[in-house]
């Protein structure tokens, strides 16, 4: 496609309007600017508090879907809020429904916002408030603009500490293989254990340290208040920790090698601001210097809940879930539960990942030949910080016979009668009343069932899954045969599996949070027409009423109601 405007008419109208105005003068575009923009103008007035430069207005090829751009000087960045490193004014105006009908007004809305900005930014209080309101963004720009000496560059601190701690903390620090990223962790085993758990490679290991403190919420954090030297950082730490000389005591407490990663991190609300401490021997000064560093929290509170609903997260973090079957339903359920905050998993599955599993399993061709449980557990460990997950490449029955301590929940995603029976048996005997959920699908994803058994309720030894729970009678030949022992399969797709996993995960979370602790059966059922289409002549156990206009229903029955006479 050629590099042509999306709406020539809108551009022409704005162009004529600006060309006719005696408040702006057209200016040329550089070759680079021409790739994106059609034309540019310069205002005929300047504003001393905005650096005294006359602002430029750019009209882009995708106007009005991309708004007018206003540019000041790059030097305005960090001196004034809402100015990016290239001088671009970040106006926050987005396309409105009538912009194509009235493109001049669309341009006017941006200029109106700029006028408001020109006036407001004359007020130093407003400038400070705005800087503070988006303090994290401006900090990142400051980090980008900083130039630490060679060998002391850290682009990002990955921080894994207790975000609730009110007192200053010390934690170990290590650089990751790339050397531009560091990990700071207070977990057992320190940053090395954290990095290994996640699967990050460490470079040459030089142990460093970090001092972490909390900045009061009401403390203004703006370019004019950021400490920019070791001395001013030290003074700030003294003040906020109420401890004289805390930084110098920490820094002087032991002799780290010169190249050791040493950091100071201040947390304010959910965000962190970091500095790398650079030893004085690298420059002609008796004091160390500091270089700003971006801080990314990787603790569970932040990564899994953005610091919201922490109590609910904590409840789930302490839960241990055993999952039978790491297949097309089990694997996504583990992932959904882990990202919802469940802290510990044991995954039991003896099967290998085969190429034909790819169509509906989250693992891919790179895991071909590996155990599904092992491969998937590793993938999850690398993805979700702090999750504890163990794989057992055995059958569920073997695991049940292995004398393991009872978990908080057994999730049976095998759809296998023997496993259902073995689990029911184990609950009745040694395991006691461990909540048990059984999840399976009817062929073609025509229905999915989530059976939850809690407390003293029992799943009948007759295993009435196909008779009391399933909607339809499925003949044996619905299973596609494969020339291998026990390698038949049912036709359904990944969407069916994930929909099942989503319904089951919601039920599992309600159970784990103890929001809903009744034994029940939740069924996702497609319309009768769907059943008849995928298997003409199919017969049903019971009549399912699908409301007019709906394609499927999620039905919930008490276990007693579902089992009826069983």
């Amino acid at each position: 496609m050629s590099n042509s405007p999306l709406d020539q008419s809108a551009i022409d109208r704005v162009r004529s309007w600006l060309d006719a105005s005696d408040t702006v003068a057209a200016v040329g575009l550089s070759v680079a600017q021409r790739a994106q923009h059609i034309a540019a103008w310069q205002l005929k007035e300047d504003y001393p508090h905005l650096g005294g430069v006359r602002p430029r207005i750019f009209l882009s090829r995708d106007f009005p879907f991309s708004p007018l751009r206003i540019e000041l000087e790059p030097s305005c960045c960090l001196r004034l809020p809402h100015i990016e490193a290239n001088g671009n004014f970040c106006h926050g105006v987005v396309a409105a429904p009538n912009d194509l009908d009235d493109p001049v007004k669309a341009a006017g809305r941006v200029l109106e916002q700029f006028l408001d900005y020109v006036r407001r930014s004359a007020d130093p209080e407003w400038v400070e408030e705005e800087f503070h309101r988006e303090s994290h963004d401006y900090w990142l720009r400051y980090v980008d603009a900083s130039s630490p000496p060679k060998g002391y560059r850290t682009d990002e601190i990955l921080l894994e500490i207790d975000p609730d701690a009110k007192k200053p903390q010390r934690a170990g620090a290590l650089h990751l293989g790339s050397r531009a990223r560091a990990i700071v962790s207070s977990r057992d085993g320190g940053p090395k254990a954290a990095a290994e758990a996640i699967g990050w490679s460490l470079g040459t290991i030089v142990h460093g340290s970090a001092l972490i403190a909390r900045l009061p919420e009401d403390r203004r954090w703006t370019p004019s208040t950021w400490p920019k030297s070791f001395e001013s950082l030290s003074a700030l730490l003294d003040e906020i920790t109420d401890t004289t000389g805390i930084l110098t005591a920490w820094y002087g407490s032991r002799q780290w090698p010169n190249e050791a990663p040493l950091f100071v991190v201040l947390l304010q609300g959910s965000v962190g601001f970091g500095w790398r401490v650079i030893p004085y021997s690298t420059r002609a000064s008796s004091q160390p210097r500091v270089a700003p560093v971006k801080v990314s929290r990787i603790d569970r509170r932040w990564t899994l809940a953005r610091d919201h609903q922490s109590e609910q997260l904590d409840v789930l973090t302490h839960k241990r879930v055993v999952v039978f079957g790491c297949g097309s339903v089990g694997a996504p359920m583990i992932e959904l539960l882990a990202r919802a905050g469940v802290g510990s998993f044991e995954v039991i599955d003896p099967d290998l990942m085969r190429p034909e599993n790819i169509s509906r399993h989250p693992l891919g061709i790179q895991s071909n030949g590996g155990y599904k449980a092992t491969e998937f557990c590793q993938r999850l460990k690398n993805s979700v910080p702090g999750v504890k997950i163990t794989s057992h490449t055995m059958t569920a029955q073997s695991w049940l016979a292995g004398g393991h301590p009872p978990p908080d929940l057994i999730l049976d995603c095998t759809g296998d009668r023997a496993v259902r029976m073995a689990t029911a048996h184990a609950r009745a005997l040694g395991f006691g009343p461990v909540p048990n959920m059984m999840i399976w699908m009817e062929p073609f994803g025509a229905a999915a069932h989530v059976v939850t058994i809690v407390g003293s309720d029992q799943w009948p030894g007759s295993d009435p899954a196909e008779t009391a729970i399933n909607v339809a009678y499925w003949p044996d030949d619905v299973e596609v045969r494969h020339p291998g022992c026990g390698q038949g399969f049912h036709l359904y797709g990944m969407a069916d599996a994930w929909e099942t996993a989503a319904v089951a995960t919601r039920r599992a979370i309600a159970l784990l949070r103890e929001d809903d602790t009744r034994s029940d059966v939740v069924s996702l059922i497609q319309s009768r027409g769907y059943f008849e289409r995928v298997w003409p002549g199919i017969t049903f156990h019971r009549q399912i009423l699908i409301p007019s206009g709906a394609e499927s229903v999620v039905e919930r029955r008490s276990l007693a109601e579902a089992l009826g006479g069983f």
Binding site: T23, H49, R119
Partner: protein
């Protein structure tokens, strides 16, 4: 309640709101507006020179025997127009010398001098006698003169180079020049942030606020501005007070002396610990009462620094505590009013707080400074209007906001 001092508390708040410069700017532009303008000042100078000519003529003495010396706020350059009045109070001392004034009778001398002021009532108005001076109302001028006749006291028989008629003691010592010189010497003291090395930060800070044309950006003359500010507050504070209280109102010479002493002491002990003029102003205000002395009998002393025998607070010791009580009450109120004002963000202040210190003229100047922002960027405003958008009032417009990406 914090145990930080008045000046520290305000300074912390100013640092937070970044309002220092705007408050300083408002103060200076206001105080300038309340001063006698340079044209009227020149006119006053011409008038008192003409007065000297007339006095020499009427008393029939050589012109070189009549010396006119401005004193008080005119001499210390701390004049400020009192609220509700348009006229400035200008003090001049007229020193008469020569054999005739070697040892005159004080009452006769005073009367004769008053008579010599007559004859030009069309310009000066009729002279009226006060305690030590004659008042010339100058009905058509923006000022009136308090003219104090004095004669030399070469052997300092009364304690100073000059003596003036005093209805109670016959003669009193007077040294307007020395006192003014003492004050001006202190006003010239420089703090380290005002020196070359500190200039960079001031210049940098200037860039962040657009100065009003021809208006000063920072407090330029810290001691004089402090005195003006404090006098202005005093004038406003006592404007609606009872006559009894008005009697106890702190007199200017005490304010000037205490401010000068505090300023000098701050300069001597901690001139390197300040970063902005307003910090110095606040510190001076805070320290002023520390320079009131008391003896074992509980008598108050605010000594004339240029004439130690003279106690400006002498009347505090004979008025059953009226003046002393008023001073401390008013000083507390000064601190409270300044704290209430300066701990507000500039644009979010309110009229009541401004009025307490600056009076109505302060409210007007503050409103004008906010209005000015609304009138800025005329071309941009025109361009926005030509797009068909009604230009909104900036104080009610939605703040610049950025896209909220809810799905990130």
């Amino acid at each position: 309640m914090t145990n930080k001092t008045f000046s520290k508390r305000i300074q912390e708040s100013l640092n937070l709101t970044k309002s220092t410069e705007r408050w300083e700017q408002l103060m200076v532009s206001l105080l300038r507006r309340l001063e006698l303008d340079p044209g009227a000042r020149k006119d006053a100078e011409r008038e008192y020179m003409a007065l000297a000519d007339r006095i020499a003529d009427h008393l029939d003495i050589p012109r070189h025997s009549v010396d006119v010396v401005p004193q008080g706020s005119m001499r210390t350059q701390t004049t400020i127009r009192p609220p509700g009045r348009t006229n400035f109070d200008l003090d001049v001392v007229v020193v008469l010398s020569g054999p005739r004034y070697a040892n005159p009778d004080p009452e006769l001398f005073f009367e004769e001098f008053g008579a010599a002021l007559q004859g030009n009532e069309a310009v000066t108005g009729a002279p009226t006698a006060k305690n030590r001076c004659w008042r010339l109302p100058f009905p058509n001028k923006p000022y009136y003169f308090d003219v104090t006749p004095a004669v030399p006291d070469p052997i300092h028989a009364y304690g100073a180079a000059l003596r003036v008629r005093d209805p109670e003691t016959a003669w009193s010592p007077s040294n307007p020049t020395e006192f003014a010189q003492w004050f001006c010497d202190r006003a010239d003291l420089q703090f380290s942030f005002q020196s070359a090395t500190g200039l960079g930060s001031l210049i940098e800070a200037r860039k962040s606020v657009e100065p009003l044309p021809s208006d000063p950006v920072r407090i330029d003359d810290m001691l004089r501005r402090t005195v003006q500010l404090v006098k202005l507050h005093r004038d406003n504070a006592y404007f609606h007070e009872s006559d009894v209280r008005k009697q106890g109102c702190p007199i200017s010479v005490i304010i000037v002396t205490l401010a000068g002493l505090a300023f000098e002491s701050i300069w001597l002990t901690r001139r390197n610990s300040f970063t902005s003029p307003i910090e110095v102003v606040l510190a001076v205000i805070e320290e002023m009462p520390n320079w009131i002395e008391r003896d074992a009998a509980g008598n108050y002393f605010v000594r004339n620094p240029a004439l130690k025998k003279e106690n400006f607070a002498e009347r505090w010791n004979t008025d059953q505590g009226l003046r002393a009580g008023e001073f401390f009450r008013w000083h507390q109120r000064l601190e409270d009013d300044i704290e209430a004002l300066l701990t507000d963000e500039y644009s979010k202040s309110n009229e009541r707080k401004l009025k307490a210190i600056f009076g109505q003229v302060g409210i007007d100047a503050w409103m004008a400074s906010l209005e000015e922002i609304e009138q800025s960027a005329p071309l941009l405003k025109g361009l926005v209007a030509s797009s068909g958008i009604e230009v909104s009032n900036p104080r009610v417009a939605t703040p610049v906001s950025r896209n909220t990406r809810t799905l990130a």
